[in-house]
């Protein structure tokens, strides 16, 4: 579509680069996002009618099992899905819908307004370039009309510090500053090292430095700590939190670790089979869950203050569904302790409906109102306190 000329003057689209959206608009709003992949076996609906918003300086935790659509959703937000994916709905970045945006218009947004921290930093850093060079690249690709970087650095001696773009040494200074911000010791020297010379935690810090290089409005952290051991996890989360406070970005924290979410997020969205099961504040989700799946997740948390030899871990019955043959009605009903089959659970898909008295708390369960008496405790006998702010480990 050729933009501009075909626009109806009455139909105002909140887009095009020059019209920056009003500052009041939310950094990230997702509306009815659906992602489908046609495969030989059928259509995989990886993300199914997901809507949410993230405000400035807010962390939204997204929780769900593997295959619940968390990563596909973040890729859809960045427009990084393979061409075979069918995406519908809206992803509003600062009010501008980026779904279906051409590659050339999406590219300036990536890394500049939406940035992503990948799960496996070793895989996400290019082994043949130094860490510093990769962070520098994240900066220079967004330089206004950056002069073509000379292939050989030694040729680049002639000063490029004439016009708008940062000079080489300014970029280098920024790289060192960023590495320092994320807590890499000796950033000046470390910038010249390769990813394999970094430890796991440092690599993840470097990834974070790369993601925040341009102070993005929206930061997506896709399981940023999953590949790390527990003590390093705590450190990296700490860095992420400091960065988030510093840059005021709207952060999407994707994880399957409820402890991580409890420590960092203000709001939580629970996903199941590509759908939203429940969304609400951390307190809503952890103290007043109104979805059997959330309850199940909470009940199955391992607790260090419990003796697991005396107490078996709770487990949710059954297996996560295939995304090709999602159960009819509520996707969770075959595994649900509360479901009434066939009506309504196996026939009608529950709406994500508001939960009484908790503003912003919504649950996609036919019986969300009737779950007040069920707690993670009652699911898992003899649970004395709700699994609140205690991560399942000894992290602070």
């Amino acid at each position: 579509m050729t933009e501009g000329e075909s626009l109806d003057p009455l139909y105002l689209e909140p887009s095009t680069e020059d019209q920056r959206p009003a500052p009041t608009s939310v950094p990230l709003a997702v509306r009815n996002l659906e992602v489908e992949f046609p495969t030989d076996d059928g259509i995989v609906r990886a993300v199914d009618d997901v809507s949410f918003e993230v405000a400035r300086n807010e962390v939204l935790g997204i929780v769900g099992e593997s295959g619940s659509g968390k990563t596909v959703m973040s890729m859809a937000i960045l427009g990084l899905l393979p061409a075979s994916a069918r995406v519908s709905g809206q992803v509003l970045v600062g009010g501008e819908n980026v779904v279906g945006l051409s590659e050339s218009r999406m590219q300036p947004l990536r890394g500049k307004r939406i940035a992503m921290v990948f799960q496996d930093a070793l895989a996400a850093l290019n082994p043949v370039h130094t860490v510093g060079a990769q962070i520098a690249e994240a900066i220079t690709v967004h330089q206004p009309r950056s002069p073509r970087r000379t292939r050989r650095h030694e040729e680049g001696r002639q000063s490029t510090a004439t016009k708008g773009p940062l000079s080489k040494s300014e970029v280098q200074d920024r790289v060192v500053e960023l590495l320092d911000i994320v807590g890499i010791p000796n950033p000046g020297e470390r910038a010249h090292q390769y990813p394999h010379e970094y430890s796991g935690g440092m690599r993840q810090r470097a990834m974070i430095a790369m993601a925040i290089a341009n102070e993005p409005d929206v930061l997506i952290a896709d399981e940023p700590t999953t590949a790390l051991d527990v003590t390093i996890q705590a450190q990296v989360l700490d860095v992420l939190q400091r960065i988030q406070e510093r840059t005021d970005s709207a952060t999407l924290l994707i994880t399957h670790d409820l402890g991580v979410v409890a420590g960092m997020a203000r709001r939580v969205m629970v996903m199941y089979a590509g759908r939203q099961a429940e969304i609400g504040t951390v307190e809503d989700i952890f103290y007043r869950p109104r979805h059997p799946y959330t309850l199940g997740l909470l009940a199955s948390l391992a607790r260090v203050d419990r003796d697991s030899r005396e107490e078996r871990l709770y487990r949710i019955a059954g297996q996560p569904p295939s995304l090709i043959h999602v159960p009819t009605g509520c996707a969770f009903h075959p595994r649900c302790f509360r479901a009434e089959r066939p009506d309504p659970c196996a026939t009608a898909r529950p709406d994500l409906a508001p939960v009484a008295r908790d503003p912003g708390h919504r649950s996609a369960c036919h019986f969300s109102g009737g779950l007040t008496d069920v707690t993670a405790e009652s699911l898992r006998a003899k649970m004395s306190t709700p699994p609140s702010n205690t991560p399942p480990s000894d992290s602070p």
Partner: protein
């Protein structure tokens, strides 16, 4: 690559390794001045490949004497001594002389300039063209890939010697034309290798990460994918040098190559046809030997590079 190895290297930069790494920088124009462990590791593996190191030395010597023939050669180019005619090796003429009394060592050195130049240029052009076509095909997939790879197949199935002979008849046989035609018929192998490599590398997460930070496709190919394919490209480029030298010799032998007074090793072999079994057989042995040594050396270097670039190699 185990993470403990490189540290060890960095901690003990022996003179040999750092000097070698410096040489590599000059040779390849490697971007990072602080190229430390990756290249050091690569060089350590390469230096352990004895035949490759010897071959590299032999090639360097060969290059120096051929391109320095002006100063090194015992006689002037085309210096004739009709009085002695064709004689075998002697103290005055190490490799003997031909019917016109031209010193064969001198001839071989000057002919080597042409042969080596053709080999290198063909490999260079074929590598650049093949790398880019292969990378584009592999990276973009779908229609571009189909088109590019079918063109590649087309070039692979044509009988190259016949095409070469016809093309040379049509476009003339100066060395530039020969280089261009040989390159046009030699880029497909590298294109295929690079395509395959790119297909696997483009699925790596760092490509996604680069894209997520706003890099364009061109930048991703040039900065993120190709540097990871340098190994196979270099290995194939060296094999390309050998193949080009041999093909040029074949052409010359068949009479389609460079024309007198320009001469190449293949041309010398061609001129010496019919001396086999006579007392002038040295005319065919020495150019043949030069050819053999060069091609062998280049192939050994290719082997060495392959082992050095292979992270699994534990030699």
């Amino acid at each position: 690559m185990p993470s403990d190895k490189p540290v060890e290297v960095a901690a003990a930069p022996t003179g040999g390794i750092s000097r070698a790494a410096g040489m590599e920088l000059e040779l390849l124009g490697a971007p990072e001045p602080a190229a430390s462990t990756q290249w050091a590791l690569f060089w350590r593996r390469f230096l352990r490949h004895r035949m490759a190191v010897i071959s590299a030395l032999v090639l360097i010597v060969l290059f120096v004497v051929c391109f320095g023939a002006q100063w090194v050669a015992p006689y002037e180019k085309n210096h004739q001594n009709l009085l002695i005619g064709a004689v075998g090796p002697s103290g005055a003429h190490w490799f003997g002389t031909d019917e016109l009394g031209r010193d064969q060592l001198t001839e071989i050195l000057y002919a080597g300039q042409i042969s080596l130049k053709i080999g290198l240029s063909v490999a260079l052009i074929a590598t650049v063209v093949g790398t880019w076509l292969g990378a584009l095909a592999g990276f973009f997939g779908r229609l571009p890939e189909q088109v590019l790879m079918r063109i590649t197949d087309l070039f692979l199935v044509v009988p190259s010697i016949a095409i070469l002979a016809i093309a040379i008849k049509k476009f003339g046989s100066d060395s530039t034309t020969i280089v261009l035609i040989l390159a046009a018929l030699g880029w497909m192998y590298i294109a295929r290798v690079v395509r395959g490599q790119v297909l696997s590398i483009k699925e790596k997460e760092f490509v996604d990460a680069a894209r997520a930070s706003g890099a364009s496709s061109g930048r991703i190919i040039a900065r993120h994918i190709l540097p990871n394919v340098v190994g196979p490209i270099l290995v194939n480029a060296t094999l390309g040098i050998a193949a080009a030298i041999v093909t040029e010799s074949t052409l010359s032998f068949l009479g389609f190559g460079v024309q007198p007074p320009t001469t190449s090793w293949g041309r010398m072999l061609s001129d010496a046809r019919g001396t086999v079994g006579t007392n002038k057989a040295h005319l065919i042995y020495f150019p043949g030997l030069a050819l053999l040594v060069t091609v062998l050396a280049v192939n050994f270097i290719g082997d060495g590079l392959r082992d050095a670039f292979d992270p699994q190699s534990r030699r």
